[in-house]
């Protein structure tokens, strides 16, 4: 009934309205009721505009009641609404009136769809801070209570997330009520609510006075941790960690440890997994004594768990756990308790366990020092370097720097090489890509001779990989190698090979030469560039393939800054001018681009700024992801190709654009 005013505005849209500013607002409200979901969604997303134009008073008296009434809608619209309302405080007149936002958000907090509900709770939490203490008790807290005693589980679930934001700022009577409500929800009939309560238990404990943590929270925690459903028990683990940080050391043993110990041995692997996953936090929360007495054996068990998921989660924590052990007994504990388990994991039957271990095991060397590393860890590293699973080997190689600091990489070099060679030729291009990225690091650590002898040929082979990403990474890798080994090394080892590829029958390889030159010219310096690279580039300007020719133009633009001005005028410019009159329009374009220099570069950059934005718009609507990429890239191309795009583009331009994106041009 409250929205009568707005409904009256609605039909007014067709006729001319005397008040010009009202005209589009009426439309917007009409759009809020549009039959098409997408249009409704668009309008909801611009709700702040409506509110702004209506002014605070009418927003409160007309817009909000209207919104509260239209709560039954598509979830997507509701999600947008829930989000908007979280930022509405100023639009309804500031903190004084913020409670006006509660009714629509309360309804949103009771809908079924989880994302909508969560967003509504998020917004409620946000605006709770804008309530004065009085308003909090008069308006906000009653809402929490209503939600907490709602009929359907959704409202009770939402309530769980709201207790902690109002508790600190209300009177002690209300506090007692809130605690009572939370207690009730922790033993709710539906597991959904218990899960929500369990996931908020830690957060709620943090805002409670210590006496209530001990008297209330502990019993709730114990109950949730022995719930009949493992999905509830596992959430209690996380809460347990938070609670442990709140309690004084002397209470930990009696209040939380029995429950946590039980969780580490729970019959459900999900719960044990959660314990393993939170182990480092747990360790920090309980302190050194309990760690030594309780956590070490528990950790051993998790490393030996019968489920691979649990072992992998525990293996991930090995380094962190060892690092945080009390210093006085760290080495003994690692050597006698942890290392034997780690040794077993190296030959685990599950590759993900091994791979998790491989990603952290190298970190142990800094903790154990040189002698222990050589004696105990090195054999494990070597074993993992020979593992059948590439991910394991890769994880070892990617962490070599830790070992390098302790024992030097030479210890490993004999085993490294076969591992690297094998990864370099792995069938999965992502593996190859990953190993390329470690090349500069390896080269630095292994030294130039070892590199020339063993690895150089690999680096060159990547340049002709059949996957573009690998060729691109290989080019970049060469640049980094030259940065390490110097221009002279480059001139003797890699430049001849790179330039040799300019005569390759495959035009993709010929282009790789150009890409390498782009990357190398600066690090190699003017002399090598002018003397060796430039002639090759010039020669390629006569290539039969247009792609090569326009890349020549691009390359010339790129290496221009390295060359001296005389060379630019007498040699480069004529070549570019020749290309500018090429038959192919792209060659022409890029040649002109190179001649006119950097001004176009700026233009392109500006257009590229559109890229993520337009991508964002598309993502929300109907375009699948890959099409978006294709489309946006082509859009940018079009912007580049039509530098004088009119400010108010005509439709035909966009048709052209659409054709482009569908691949019918270029």
């Amino acid at each position: 009934k409250n929205n009568v005013n707005i409904k009256e505005i609605g039909p007014g849209m067709a006729g001319a309205d005397s008040d010009d500013s009202l005209y589009p607002i009426a439309v917007l409200i009409d759009e809020l009721r549009n039959e098409d979901v997408q249009l409704r969604l668009n309008s909801i997303k611009k709700l702040s505009t409506i509110a702004l134009a209506l002014g605070v008073e009418r927003t409160r008296t007309e817009l909000l009641p209207f919104l509260t009434d239209t709560i039954y809608d598509e979830d997507e619209v509701l999600l947008a609404l829930a989000e908007q309302l979280g930022n509405f405080t100023m639009l309804v007149g500031g903190p004084e009136y913020v409670h006006c936002l509660l009714p629509p958000l309360e309804s949103l907090a009771t809908v079924e769809e989880t994302v909508v509900r969560d967003k509504a709770v998020e917004s409620l939490r946000k605006i709770s801070h804008e309530h004065s203490p009085v308003d909090l008790e008069v308006h906000f807290e009653p809402l929490v209570k209503r939600l907490a005693s709602g009929d359907w589980f959704t409202s009770r679930t939402s309530a769980c997330g709201l207790f902690s934001v109002c508790y600190p700022r209300v009177s002690s009577t209300v506090k007692a009520e809130i605690r009572q409500h939370f207690r009730t929800l922790c033993s709710d009939d539906t597991p959904m609510v218990r899960r929500a309560a369990a996931s908020k238990l830690g957060e709620f404990a943090k805002v409670l006075e210590l006496e209530y943590v001990k008297s209330d929270i502990i019993s709730l925690f114990t109950a949730l941790a022995s719930d009949e459903q493992d999905s509830v028990r596992l959430l209690a683990v996380e809460a347990g960690v938070s609670i442990a940080t709140l309690l004084p050391q002397e209470d930990l043993e009696a209040l939380v440890m029995p429950t946590l110990r039980q969780a580490a041995e729970d019959k459900s692997w999900r719960v044990r997994y959660m314990v393993a996953d939170k182990f480092s936090d747990l360790q920090k929360a309980v302190g050194p004594e309990i760690t030594k007495n309780d956590l070490v054996p528990a950790f051993q068990n998790l490393l030996k768990d019968c489920e691979a998921e649990v072992r992998a989660a525990a293996a991930n924590k090995v380094k962190e756990f060892c690092e945080n052990l009390p210093e006085d007994s760290r080495e003994t504990i690692i050597m006698t308790h942890i290392l034997p388990c780690v040794k077993e994991l190296v030959s685990d039957t599950n590759q993900h366990v091994k791979s998790a271990l491989a990603s952290v095991i190298m970190g142990l060397s800094t903790i154990l020092g040189k002698d222990n590393t050589i004696e105990h860890l090195l054999p494990l590293f070597l074993a993992q370097l020979k593992d059948e699973c590439p991910e394991v080997r890769l994880n070892i190689i990617s962490n070599l720097d830790c070992v390098n600091e302790v024992i030097g990489i030479r210890q490993l070099s004999q085993s490294l090489l076969p591992a690297i060679v094998e990864l370099a030729e792995d069938a999965k291009w992502r593996v190859r890509l990953a190993i390329i990225e470690y090349m500069p690091l390896l080269a630095g650590q292994l030294g130039v001779e070892f590199f020339d002898e063993k690895l150089n040929s690999l680096c060159m082979a990547w340049l002709v990989d059949h996957v573009y990403a690998i060729r691109e990474a290989a080019t970049c890798n060469l640049m980094k190698l030259v940065e390490k080994f110097g221009a002279e090394w480059a001139q003797n080892t890699i430049v001849p090979k790179v330039l040799g590829m300019a005569n390759d029958p495959n035009y993709l390889h010929r282009m790789t030469t150009l890409f390498c030159i782009n990357a190398l010219s600066e690090v190699c310096g003017q002399e090598i560039t002018t003397k060796h690279m430039l002639p090759v580039v010039f020669k390629m300007s006569n290539d039969q393939v247009a792609n090569v020719r326009f890349n020549v133009a691009k390359s010339l633009q790129k290496i221009g800054p390295v060359l001296d001005s005389n060379c630019l005028q007498t040699e480069v410019k004529p070549v570019l001018e020749k290309l500018a009159s090429d038959q192919d329009m792209d060659v022409k374009y890029f040649a002109q681009e190179a001649i006119s220099g950097s001004s176009t570069g700026l233009f392109m950059e500006k257009q590229c700024a559109l890229f993520p934005l337009s991508k964002k718009c598309f993502r929300d609507t109907w375009l699948p992801k890959c099409f978006v990429q294709l489309f946006t890239k082509q859009t940018i191309l079009l912007f580049i190709l039509t530098p004088n795009l009119p400010a108010e583009p005509s439709c035909s331009v966009y048709h052209h654009l659409l054709n482009l994106s569908l691949g019918s041009h270029i």
Partner: protein, 503 residues
């Protein structure tokens, strides 16, 4: 205070890490979690065969039966294929004998055996299901992971069924042991990836529902919880189809008038179940349940159809076809008075489906015109339906890419023309004008949006000028320029969208 992380629900079941779950099956080590609790126990005690029950005197039989039940509580690790072979065989033979014993003999179910039987069954079947071997498990494509200990487990299920079906079976005695907790554990097993196990569970649960009146509400409540978790939290549960099948027969038995609880179940659970990603796996059973409800109480038709329309798939054509199938099933049993209540929104959707560029969707929708009952409903209400359908049909008849669809559309148009020639002619005559009017409306709308954006910018500038007075926490305040770009981009895409698809 931190805002609620929006993904906390996902964290509730944080075990979807693909890398780990993609683990290649390594049977030796990845034993079923069933043995986790026992990992530290001494080696499994060897069990030796006891004398046959049929050879025992009737006085000894009872004692021997109890002993055998007890013996069957010893568990064996089936991932380990080498040890305990002899004991495994003994247990298998014993179980098989027990199955025979309870199914053929009368008077063996005396009170003391109830707890023993329940314990034996619980020990053998209740366990935490191991993590799924294949995270992207597609039940339609992939082979399910089968339960390793099936040779024993199958017999245990068999035995339990025979026990429940035994004419001497006394629910009143059994209810002390087969209680709510038992049912809850049983329901959790429906997540098993092994279809053979789920099949047994289905029958077992059905028998329990039939025999234990006191557990019925509890069974329904727990199934609700499973479904709600499936819909809103995990989207993963293997036994949805089986549970729905049981529910189908439960709904069948509901007394009239329907209780509020049952109506709530329909609206809050069955209808939202349609949103699930894996709908294809249980759609037949789900549609059956929905139709059952409508047959029981036709006044539910309107809310059901509106619910389906609310959750109508927007991007998944496969699901759209299923929805159309379900709508047809509903229309098959719909009462004409109910039809009138939903015809407008429903046919707006059908009209959209007919115009779908996906030919299977269009085809499925057009098949409605082959259904004589639906046809009679359309005919009866042609004054309302014809105007809704006409525009899209007319357009599609001219421009759909698929010749089959075009042919079907012609047939439909012909049928409609025969139904109401006058209206048809009117619509044909006004088609062009209508399109133009629509287009004009669209243009007006765009123009208004443009004005609105201008207004918004003005407001912005005004705000910025007054910033020192009013502290706006307007989220885009600092990003005016960027936002403007975004709007332009949005306008561009809108334009492209409307231009390309409208033509």
């Amino acid at each position: 205070m931190e805002p609620v992380p929006s993904d906390w629900i996902i964290k509730v079941d944080g075990f979807t890490r693909k890398s780990v779950r993609k683990a290649v099956r390594q049977r030796v080590c990845q034993s079923s979690s069933q043995f986790a609790a026992n990992s530290s126990r001494p080696a499994t005690p060897e069990i030796s065969a006891l004398p046959q029950l049929k050879d025992a005197s009737s006085t000894e039989q009872h004692e021997l039966f109890m002993q055998k039940l007890h013996q069957c509580c010893v568990m064996f690790d089936f991932y380990d294929t080498v040890t305990d072979l002899k004991s495994k065989e003994t247990k298998r033979a014993t179980l098989s004998e027990l199955v025979d014993y309870v199914s053929t003999n009368r008077g063996v179910l005396v009170e003391p055996v109830y707890p023993e039987i329940t314990t034996m069954v619980s020990t053998n079947i209740f366990r935490t299901l191991p993590p799924s071997e294949n995270p992207d498990f597609d039940p339609e494509e992939d082979e399910p992971t089968l339960e390793a200990s099936w040779p024993h487990m199958q017999l245990v299920y068999e035995f339990f069924l025979r026990f429940l079906e035994n004419p001497d079976f006394q629910p009143n005695t059994a209810k002390r042991y087969i209680d709510q907790k038992f049912v809850l554990q049983l329901l959790q097993l429906f997540d098993s990836e092994d279809p053979r196990e789920r099949e047994f569970l289905k029958t077992v649960l059905h028998r329990i529902y039939g025999k234990f009146l006191g557990l019925r509400a509890c069974v329904r409540k727990q199934i609700n919880n499973i479904f709600l978790r499936y819909i809103y939290e995990t989207e993963h549960f293997n036994g949805v189809a089986e549970l729905l099948e049981i529910l189908g027969s439960i709904i069948n038995g509901f007394a009239l008038p329907l209780k509020a609880e049952h109506k709530q179940f329909l609206m809050k659970i069955l209808i939202p179940l349609h949103t699930a990603k894996g709908l294809a796996l249980f759609h037949a059973q789900l549609a059956y349940c929905v139709v059952q409800f409508i047959e029981k109480d036709p006044t539910l038709t309107e809310v059901v159809v509106r619910g389906l329309l609310k959750f109508w798939p927007k991007t998944c054509s496969q699901k759209e076809v299923m929805f159309l199938g379900e709508i047809e099933e509903i229309l098959d049993v719909i009462e004409p008075t109910q039809f009138k209540k939903i015809q407008e929104p429903l046919f707006k959707q059908i009209s959209k489906c007919v115009a779908s560029p996906h030919f299977q969707v269009a085809e499925r929708a057009l098949y409605f015109w082959n259904n004589e009952y639906i046809l009679s409903l359309i005919e009866e209400n042609n004054a309302k339906i014809l105007p809704i359908m006409f525009g899209n049909l007319y357009r599609i008849s001219k421009e759909h890419w698929n010749p089959t669809i075009v042919a079907l559309v012609y047939n439909v148009l012909k049928t409609l023309m025969e139904m109401n020639g006058t209206l048809f002619d009117e619509l044909t005559a006004s088609y062009k004008a209508d399109r133009q009017r629509e287009k004009k409306k669209e243009q007006e709308r765009e123009e208004l949006w443009r004005k609105l954006d201008e207004l918004r910018l003005q407001e912005r500038i005004a705000i910025q000028n007054n910033r020192h007075d009013i502290q706006f926490t307007f989220n885009n305040n600092n990003n005016n320029l960027q936002d403007k770009n975004e709007n332009t981009a949005a306008a561009v895409t809108d334009r492209i969208e409307s231009d390309s698809w409208a033509k």
